[in-house]
Symmetry: C2
Subunit: 344 residues, 2 copies
């Protein structure tokens, strides 16, 4: 909601960027761009903005101050699925770094991949009047995060785009990273390539599977449904899946694992059998250079994911952007550990 | 401070466990033990407690209700040194599990091993009226956590005991785990055994070094000061330390690393040289079974550390214990990965 500038002046509250935008008849984004001296701003709009800034006595520092004043709690909420998973704890580190820089304190809750728990956590954080929320969603639908349930608290999703609501999201290039991996395996000469999927269907899991299939399709190879399996939670169950897959009449010569759980299960199979199996996995593993078997990994920075999400959120909290939901995609890199045959 | 039971009755507040204790002339701990039906309570004291419970109309459920009522914020504060380090994120998971069970929300901040930042975070959390604090201290003195600075907010330290204040603490058996490791290396026949220490002196680092030295002293071996080094942060600098150590005229045949940073540096040295070096390290490494080289690890459960710390804290918040500071020690286990020669 935009306050009337005259009302703002009367109540002696410092004018906000939204007041400037309303006064100049432009979007808050245009005000922001003008104040950052971005060359993309139309000259006429630019002059209208600067005139409004002068008339209202707007000062840029008021943004940050506005965050803390007027009943602001100085709290940001973060809901992740599991703090014990290094990806989410590194993501939390990125969110916390940006929050700390802005003088905000982080309220953290974990949903344990349970949508009902996520709902309860979000409601609890909103009732504590957090100024914004970063959510790593547990399920595939986030309708319960829609504006009305949040009483206007802005939300940014991390790792998965918004489904069932209009919200900013920061995601990994899951499709592109998986596509690169499967193409790579084809180019190395593999034709029996297995896909080790996530045990519960998430947007991330779907994208990685789509990317895997698309990469092979570009090479003219169709995916054999017998080679598509999911890796259950728990080392023992994951190992059983690998043994079953590798004991089939026509076992794969290579696997692409959609997350580190599958990668580690494949590595354990190699370790205990001494057999050859080419492995590429999604997600970095810090100790992979010390592994007894070669492995390639599709990596990205979870901390960057968290930083970007917190940055988008702070822009929302400051009312510094249009309503249009934004999506930021974090790139992946394929790295090789141990001696991997390079395709000719 | 113990409220007078008569005053409590007059003000119509439900009596607390402390009121019962004062009325019966026993410690709150004795009240707690009696209500839990623990057999260790003296029969006479037990009857006095039960009489006081009846006279005051004390009900056990009031504890939990007391947590949420009377201006209680329902917030617990957690200050850790680094959320990106898997040990601290697992510790946080343990704290969060206990907090969530009690209906409390966790406020998390990271000090980046900086005492000044820790001070600021603690002051910020106290000003947000957290009901209690779990702190993984950054430095060796915690005088700034003394009661007066915290306005009575109870604090429990994790990983290191309180120094400069009287507070509960949950620590790992750093001394015992290191002592077991160095004795083991001696019994395997090693006489040139290096110690890879932490780069900054913490209580944990001191205890692990004391345990290492004590274990060897019991075997009649004195530590050669040339074999005692510290492992700097950053893989490159840690690797340089290892190369220097191993290039000495009389290099060690075994190393004990006081944390996973030193363990990984030693493993990288073995990986890149192909030389033999017996390695035992403090701290579990989940992927160690996949390593190309044998390694033994002194492990413990960081999540248990967090759970125990949160449990002690909730007892303090509920006024359910004596003032005497308590210390809980979490045990370690030595595990072996890869083929390690067993001493005869």
């Amino acid at each position: 909601m935009t306050r009337d500038p005259a009302t703002a002046a009367a109540s002696r509250q410092p004018p906000t960027m939204r007041d400037v935008a309303a006064h100049a008849g432009v979007s808050p984004m245009t005000v922001s761009r003008t104040l950052r001296d971005e060359p993309s701003v139309d000259r006429v709009l630019r002059e209208r903005v600067l005139a409004a800034v002068e008339e209202l006595g707007y000062r840029r520092n008021d943004w940050a101050r506005g965050l803390r004043g007027g009943g602001a709690t100085g709290l940001l909420g973060l809901v992740i699925t599991n703090l014990g998973n290094p990806f989410y704890s590194q993501l939390a580190t990125g969110v916390e770094a940006v929050a700390a820089e802005a003088g905000l304190q982080l309220l953290v809750g974990t949903s344990a991949d349970d949508v009902a728990r996520e709902r309860g956590l979000v409601a609890g954080l909103v009732s504590r009047r957090v100024e914004g929320l970063v959510v790593v969603p547990a399920g595939t639908d986030q309708g319960h995060l829609a504006g009305s349930s949040l009483h206007g608290v802005p939300v940014v999703l991390a790792t998965s785009p918004a489904s069932g609501l209009a919200a900013d999201a920061v995601v990994v290039d899951d499709f592109g990273g998986a596509r690169e991996a499967s193409r790579r395996l084809f180019l190395e000469g593999h034709r029996r390539i297995a896909f080790l999927g996530l045990s519960h269907e998430t947007w991330t899991g779907q994208e990685r599977r789509r990317g895997f299939t698309a990469g092979l399709a570009e090479c003219g190879l169709e995916v054999d449904p017998e080679l598509v399996v999911t890796t259950p939670a728990g080392d023992h169950d994951a190992d059983t899946t690998l043994w079953r897959l590798m004991s089939a009449p026509r076992p794969p010569t290579a696997v692409f694992a959609a997350n580190h759980r599958g990668t580690l299960a494949a590595c354990r199979w190699v370790r205990s059998t001494g057999e050859r199996l080419r492995i590429i996995g999604f997600d970095d593993i810090a100790t992979a250079p010390l592994f007894a078997m070669p492995v390639s990994l599709v990596g990205y920075s979870p901390a960057e994911l968290g930083r970007r999400a917190a940055e988008l959120l702070l822009e929302r909290v400051r009312g510094d952007v249009d309503d249009e939901p934004r999506r930021v995609v974090v790139a992946t890199q394929l790295s090789h550990h141990g001696h991997v045959d390079v395709p000719a």
